[in-house]
């Protein structure tokens, strides 16, 4: 309570902050829309109202500088609305910069309590305010154009460099699902994670109970176990769904990014979105943000040709960048495509040779599409020697690959010269659960993340061929190296292979690399909550190689989850040795 008879409203401060961020996002979206549809009165009214509401919120939060800035933007928008000021790219640039400034002011607010934003009136703000004031006072759009000596988004300004996205924490807050009348609450993701973990444990107990009831043939117990099973399944589904958000929250940010990047590159580009309602784990949405930003910048910077070149090639002058998402089994596929020039094999070869990634001899012959893919994603390939504002600074596609693989996902590339390029990201639906393929080796259970398992085959060892020192198997005309899974795992090898009896081989694939791992037994699929290895680590007799974590199965059995990429690397080293 502030004083007698006064309610304590500081708890509402967060509401005003959240709402203000949402307003900024909405204005940013609408300003970009306005550039495409300058005559849309509805959009114009909406932007004007949002600026007005932002001013009001700033006032309630005691953020005077923000209120002043929002007010000056409202004034300018008022003139656009009444037709006395024409809207154009320069004006929109200026308004978007105003939004960035608003965002920074909001970010400066102390979390949880009103504090005001005094003393944050930087030179940038002064300049913005003066410009808005001039526009309000009657100057034409020319006043919005950058003046000499006025830096347009200095690249070293962190807010500009980051594409003026709010910090992840801010984003998290703004993305939270909120209802109009307080019928929703916000819960920290850490608490959700604990819940997911507990449900995972519950699932394990449930399976133990089920197998116990089967073993004891106790009829009533079986019924109870079955009922519990159903409930536990439902509970798990519900808990996991709490973490799911539509990918729209990510995609919507790209209107602004594409607009700014395209304008900077001097190329007209439109953004197309597809599958915005596709839901996936919030943590994954956040984790794919940077890779997708990178790919979109790349598409505009390198993929889309300048308008003249497009015209010469008989293409529409306006380039197209498309973001699409869809569910595919237990994964989400995110595509970033452009209708630009495509990736030319010869120039990849030249570049790779320059960078020392390809020997002079190898650089003579044309590359296979797989080799092109491997080179493009390898570290050092796209490390630009000049700083390139648009496609990033010395950051290559290998960073995108590493980030996506870190999520247990994959990146693929399809390109056609003159037609365009599509990057396909395949990521799990959720980080909380992984789907594993269970195999037994030397009496111990291992789980291979299902993403990487292509198929299982049964082959009689005498059908293997030996190339060099390596066993290979011909699978539909392609030679795949084959080795016991025990080998890279450092597990004891089970005795000599039978000669004629078929043994199970799990074909694991990543990109163009395929390896067949011999296992003792294939034990089916399961879903599980992955745990960091910590507490289990001590129980292992061998140093941990190629293992990403551990998990308890319903049966109570410990399963070690393989780090497939690590295994493939180990397998490669061993084959080479």
């Amino acid at each position: 309570m502030t004083d007698a008879g006064q309610p304590d409203l500081t708890g509402l401060y967060g509401e005003f902050l959240d709402e203000s961020r949402e307003l900024l996002d909405a204005v940013a979206r609408d300003l970009v829309l306005l550039e495409q549809r300058p005559d849309d009165r509805d959009v114009l009214h909406r932007v004007f109202r949002a600026a007005h509401s932002l001013k009001g919120n700033a006032g309630f939060m005691g953020m005077e500088t923000l209120a002043t800035l929002a007010h000056s933007m409202e004034n300018v928008l008022g003139r656009v609305r009444d037709g006395s000021l024409a809207s154009g790219p320069d004006l929109l640039d200026l308004l978007l910069r105003g939004l960035d400034a608003c965002r920074m002011l909001l970010a400066s607010a102390a979390p949880g309590q009103p504090g005001g934003d005094a003393g944050r009136l930087t030179a940038e703000l002064e300049s913005l305010l003066a410009r808005f004031e001039a526009l309000h006072a009657g100057a034409g759009e020319a006043a919005a154009a950058p003046a000499a000596g006025w830096s347009r988004g200095a690249p070293d300004d962190p807010a500009v460099a980051a594409g003026a996205e709010p910090a992840p924490a801010d984003r998290a807050a703004a993305d939270g699902r909120r209802g109009r009348d307080g019928d929703t609450i916000r819960v920290s993701t850490a608490r959700l994670d604990r819940l997911v973990n507990l449900v995972g444990e519950l699932m394990a107990s449930r399976s133990q109970l089920a197998s116990l009831s089967r073993r004891t043939h106790h009829r009533e117990l079986e019924d109870v176990a079955a009922g519990l099973s159903r409930l536990a399944d439902q509970l798990q589904g519900e808990v996991l769904s709490i973490r799911m958000v539509p990918i729209r929250t990510l995609f919507q940010k790209f209107h602004r990014l594409v607009r700014d990047t395209a304008r900077e590159a001097g190329k007209p580009v439109v953004l197309e979105l597809e599958g915005e309602a596709t839901e996936l784990d919030k943590a994954i949405v956040e984790a794919v943000h940077d890779p997708v930003v990178h790919l979109v910048r790349n598409a505009i910077g390198h993929g889309i040709e300048p308008a003249e070149a497009r015209a010469a090639a008989g293409k529409p002058a306006t380039g197209r960048v498309r973001l699409a998402a869809r569910h595919a089994q237990d994964h989400v596929v995110i595509e970033v495509s452009d209708d630009g020039r495509g990736i030319d094999e010869a120039s990849v070869r030249r570049r790779a040779a320059e960078r020392g990634l390809l020997s002079a001899a190898d650089a003579e012959a044309p590359l296979t599409p797989e080799a092109v893919r491997r080179l493009i994603f390898s570290p050092g390939f796209s490390t630009a020697d000049r700083v390139d504002r648009i496609s990033g600074r010395g950051v290559g596609l290998d960073v995108v690959r590493t980030a996506v693989e870190g999520l247990g996902g994959t990146v693929e590339l399809a390109t056609q010269v003159g037609q365009g390029t599509t990057f396909t990201l395949r990521v799990p639906l959720t980080l909380a659960m992984i789907q594993i393929f269970l195999v037994r080796v030397a009496g111990r259970l291992y789980g291979l993340p299902l993403t990487y398992v292509e198929e299982t085959i049964r082959v009689a060892p005498r059908e293997f061929q030996i190339v060099g020192h390596q066993r290979v198997h011909l699978l539909r005309g392609q030679a795949i190296p084959v080795m016991p899974l025990a080998l890279p795992l450092g597990a004891p090898e089970s005795g000599a292979l039978p000669d004629t009896a078929p043994v199970p081989v799990v074909v694991v694939r990543h990109g163009d690399r395929r390896v067949g791992f011999l296992v003792d037994e294939v034990c089916g699929k399961d879903k599980t909550v992955l745990k960091a290895l910590g507490p289990y680590l001590a129980r292992l007799p061998q140093p941990v190689r190629g293992i990403a974590g551990a998990s308890l199965l319903g049966s109570g059995e410990l399963v070690l989850i393989a780090d497939v990429l690590g295994l493939l690397a180990l397998a490669g080293d061993m084959a080479a040795a």
Binding site: L9, E15, D18, H52, F60, R180, D181
Partner: protein
Amino acid sequence: MSRKILIAEDSPATQKFISFTLKYKGHDVTIASDGIEALEKLPQAQYDLLILDIMMPRMNGLEVLREIKKRPETSALPVIMLTSEKGEADRQTALSLGARFFLNKPFQPDQLLEAIDQVFA
């Protein structure tokens, strides 16, 4: 004394701010998120007061005020207009339409409660 109050305001945060303050004082609060919703809700109960924001989607507060004054059953309903400090033109229009009470945004809870005291003085 508890009053039945309708709030017409589009910002959820401001809705909460106002309703929290009023409920704290024991008033009975209903919320409308825009002008049309306000006009729909008015006939559904016997309201003692309308707190009316000017800038709202679908139908703004001035249009709502004009409509209220036109309808005999609501023409005497007391209205507090929520205005912005710089919105002199809107205030003049509201005055000419018969509004008597104004509250500039942003306001503190005690300013809101004072305004309500004035209405019922």
